[in-house]
Amino acid sequence: MKKSSLFGLLALVIRRDLLLAMRRRADVLTTLIFFVMVVSLFPLGVGPEMDMLRKMASGVVWVAALLASMLSLPRMFSADYADGTLEQMLLAPQSLSVLVLGKIVAHWMLSGLPLALIAPVLGLQFDMSAPALWTLVLALLLGTPVLSMIGAVGAALTLGLRGGGVLVSLLVLPLCIPVLIFGAGAVEAVTSGMSVVSNLSFLGAFMLFALVFTPFVAAQALRISME
């Protein structure tokens, strides 16, 4: 029997969660379709006023992305909790934080990444310019991991609670406001001819900061939820 390394554990957890999602595709698709629906409702509701749509585009996409990622959060740990796998994860002789990081990465690949990739198509409905679309994708790629990471802490804290799904949104959404502000701000800066560097730098900083702290905090929250 060969002992596996920390990186091996990370890869294993990501592979496992992706495999499980492939066998249960509906969960992944609901998040994506929700995002597409919400964003598409705005042009229909507001009507063909291009100036107005262009102005609100980035905000609408970001709010929809925020809500869509909330939708999949309660599932992050609940299936493993229900069938006892989480108990075994807590007893793993390796770092629980790394294991949680693996679950966060897998969650992002299944919820954040598809949103970022489909966003430019949705942006066309708002008559966004090409530079604005690119900035939107870049900002989503930097910002959605933060949503998954902060969300993991919320999901771990509310594990096993009745009505945990709503509670996790109430916990996590306020913490995601900075991401929303700088994410939407980046696109606004591009359309008004300013530099996007400061907004994107802030998003990058949030991501690094969350990367350092949230896996550890979520791991501790899981231990508390297990009692």
């Binding site: 294993l12 066998r23 006892g84 007893l91 009692e227």
Partner: protein, 204 residues
Amino acid sequence: MLEVGNLACSRGDHRLFSGLSFSLHPGQIMQVQGANGSGKTSLLRTLCGFLSPDEGEIRWRGERVGDLGEDYYAELLYLGHLNAIKDELNALENLQMSAGLAGYTLSEQDAIAVLRRMGLQRREHLPVRVLSQGQRRRVALARLLTTDAHLWILDEPLTALDVGAVGLMQELIGEHLSKGGMAIFTTHQPLQVSGVETRQLALS
């Protein structure tokens, strides 16, 4: 060696047990007995570190388990009420994944050999959700054959198992003890490992 000193545990306001002391040496097996709700599962979960005891301490090889952390987990195998297997995966994938989480890699050949021994021939590639309760329990128990943990903590390992599988369990535990392992278990069914005296711990 596992030493438990003056352990007390409560759930909510209800004190389950207090002043509990015992020690378990290599090659020994202990059965925790008690009525429903007497705290058997809570005791086992406390030993695993899921619950923190109100009083007392648990020592593994002379050191407190809280200080040992992951070094203790590496020598521990816990099998709870829940099977910890995924319905969407097949038996083979489940076994390999749980081995991976426990920190070692298991080759497909070894995994198949283990599943054969557990009586799951030709079930290796079926999704676990189509298996019966007893077969799912066998998939979960297959972990016992892949681990090199010294301390086995088994909560009701015999649920849903047929006579043949119970015999196999006795055999597995016997092998484990003869290699210097230790086991603590709860069960409402008779479980007798040949050649070894099962110590009893009664919770009231």
